[in-house]
Amino acid sequence: MTKVLELTGITKRFGALTANDDVSLSLAQGEILALLGENGAGKTTLMNILFGHYTADAGHIRLFGQDLPPGQPRAAIEAGVGMVHQHFTLAHNLTVLDNIMLGSEPLSRLRSARSGTRTKLIQIADRFGLPVDPDAKISTLSVGERQRVEILKALYRDARVLILDEPTAVLARPEAQRLFETLREMTREGLSLIFISHKLHEVMSASDRVAVLRGGKMVAERVTSQTNPAELAELMVGRKVERPMRQAHKIGAPVLVAKNVSVGPSEARQLEDVSFIVRSGEILGIVGVSGNGQAALGALLSGLTSPSSGSLMLNGIDAARLGPRGLIGNGAGRVPEDRNTEGVVGELSIWENAVLERLRSPDFSHRGFVRRTACKDYAAGLIDRFDIRGATPDTRTRLLSGGNMQKLVLGRVLSNDPQFVLVNQPTRGLDEGAIAAVHSELLAARGNGAAMLLISEELEEAVALSDRIQAIVKGRLSDPVAAEEADPQRLGLMMAGIWTEPENAHAS
């Protein structure tokens, strides 16, 4: 097979940190290469060097037999490299066609050649099996469709090597499967692909070859058919990791009870007639395809919205209108869906984030003044107890890695010994080591009698942690099933909205 791309001896340092250490990599014509590694292993840095966003300190890149000049994205594009970023770069108020054209036309043109672009776009979409409506506004498209537009954008610029950075991070399982089928078809059209991932199952099912990065070094290359997930996990983490298992134990009394709760105006309900019970020492898992009301459920249980009808009781008191501080004051803890936008204020120090939810409690302030020593001691305690690495109480929070930031958010919730905890997507974007750590913290809190509601789009996670599972579909909840009875097929049907309508709406 001919090599389309060769990276040789790439080294990149950021200050004291070596993000890539003498990394070499090659890609053959029509091949799908998975670049596997934990967060911070240097995957994205390497691809940014290839695409010209960064300049390597050493090493060089050959593309189709030609040397690629470093640090010039335009040269990379012209040589046929396309990159699809994890966070899309689309203008929401423009159409698909407009977004494809943006930046691909010289400014000196007075009129843009829309009809030509449209013809070429439709041809490409046909050829690669990426159907799309050129006149749809981006804001009306689903996440999967937006990703398709991103890929088309690269193909429109005649990309022959396509790089996808964590392409499934934003996709639900069926969408991800469809994406990989499409990618496979694209290789038949002569494209070569690199996708970045830290998810073992998709690497196993979608790639021809795997390159594993750890700590900036290339530690192994395997042909996918000759390896297995356990080996890859060990190569990626550098040691054996196992997620903790849930142990059966006695479940206590109901802590949080929602009865026929609806959220939103009656013509556009975000949650419709939702009922559930969470008991002490129990994890109730809510599974579903992204965008089916998880956000509204999260906002409701975080105290950011109130039900428009129905009742929400926490330990026997009305929790419908308590707000964030009221919920916390009554023994609730909340782990938000997105730790960066809701969980922490990145520019503030760790100690300030640690106490932000409870600043007004006498533990942390006195007559309106912050008790800084007490706050910092508390934060130091969290860092110690929850193993938050690379941190002192005064560290700026945005410098933490995703896993350590999540440990901080978890720590500030769990150290308060909450009786009820909302846990929303607790391991999104985390690597295996961090996932195992988060799972054992959650199970420890369950062991201590906390009632927990886990919203997760990761089925393995929901099944492994939850005692009972309900599916959320279009703002409605299915009846709960015990985790033991939740085989993948049954969950799949539940998530598709196929469940027997309950005779008694509040049964559980």
Binding site: Y54, T55, P324, R325, T341, E357, G368, R396
Partner: protein
């Protein structure tokens, strides 16, 4: 050459950035001075001499710095919370007007009247900003527009008052308001100069604002809301209460600037009593990187430019409008220079 995000900003950079910005602004203005046919070095030497060259010059400069400290603090605290108060000029004038109106007839001794009049000026400024803050919170009206346009309304209103109900009959046809009672004039800090104890009030205000921002629950919530409103709201910080609190504090500081200027310097209100203290306050705050202690220093610098430019104009014939140009350039260069506190250049 490209920009890379810094992990942590060293203190040396934090201090160096405004100095570099000032240097760049002076360099750019030097081009204009040269175009006016004067050697920029001579002109800047005259400027320094005019602002710092004698005891009298220094006291004049500090007199000018006093309201700038207040308006700089007003902008700094508002900007920290991402409340874009461009209306300090208007708040300055309502503070001044309220002080003159009440201070003309108030029949109490000075030790009681001066604090009362300061409170009156603060209340007037706070109320003026409460309106735009309410409109933003309730209807999402952009406060940049409302506060900026209110400035013009206020100045026309001041004109109306000093031509009409508050006209000073003893001002011989000069448009000026009635003066505050002599009992309420602020004592001189240095005898036989215009420098008054308002400077000490301003420095104390900077200390209080620092204390509030850095040490109180309200300050912590304000900074959290300014950096990441969504995360602050999730943590239970009431955004409306925080924004309104900041608005009242910011408006009060700008109103206090007007109040202290009336009691310390002008006695009555005129439409020309501010050479743009409110707008220059924005530059003061930005040069200080929104830090209260820095505000004192940058107010002194801007006052040096203002006072020095007058002297430079007299000595060299360069129009003293160059002061406004330098101040405006400082804002632009500072905005560029601020990039380097977050980013650094690689290769």
């Amino acid at each position: 050459m490209r920009l890379e995000r810094r992990a942590q900003t060293p203190l040396s950079v934090v201090i160096l950035v405004p100095l570099v910005a000032i240097f760049a602004a002076l360099l750019l203005a030097a081009g204009l001075i040269a175009a006016a046919g004067v050697n920029p070095l001579t002109a800047y030497a005259e400027m320094l001499r005019g602002a710092l060259g004698s005891r009298l010059a220094i006291t004049e400069m500090l007199t000018r710095a006093t309201p700038l400290i207040f308006t700089g603090l007003a902008a700094a605290i508002a900007f920290r919370a991402r409340l874009w108060n461009i209306g300090a000029e208007g708040q300055f004038f309502v503070g001044a007007l309220a002080t003159a109106a009440i201070g003309h007839t108030l029949g109490v001794p000075g030790w009681l009247g001066i604090p009362l009049l300061m409170l009156a000026g603060m209340a007037a400024g706070a109320l003026l900003l409460a309106g735009p803050a309410f409109l933003r919170l309730r209807f999402g009206v952009d406060e940049v527009v409302t506060t900026l346009l209110l400035n013009f309304i206020v100045i026309l209103f001041v004109g109306l008052m000093i031509e009409g109900p508050m006209r000073d009959p003893l001002a011989f046809g000069w448009p000026a308001s009635v003066p505050v009672d002599g009992a309420f004039r602020l004592p001189d800090l240095v005898p036989r100069t215009r420098l008054h104890i308002g400077l000490l009030f301003a420095i104390a205000a900077a200390g209080i604002v620092w204390l509030v921002l850095a040490r109180t629950v309200f300050g912590a919530e304000t900074r959290a809301a300014g950096f990441n409103a969504q995360a602050a709201a999730f943590a239970g910080v009431s955004l409306p209460r925080t924004i309104m609190g900041v608005a009242l504090l910011s408006g009060a500081l700008a109103g206090l600037a007007g109040s202290v200027e009336v009691m310390g310097v002008t006695a009555g209100v005129t439409t020309t009593m501010s050479p743009g203290f409110g707008y220059a306050g924005i530059v003061v705050a930005m040069l200080a990187a929104l830090h209260p202690a820095g505000v004192v220093g940058s107010a002194v610098f801007i006052a040096t430019v203002f006072v020095g430019a007058d002297a430079m104009g007299r000595a060299t014939g360069v129009p003293s409008f160059i002061a406004d140009v330098i101040v405006a350039l400082c804002l632009l260069t500072m905005l560029v220079a601020l990039l380097f506190t977050t980013y650094r250049i690689r290769r």
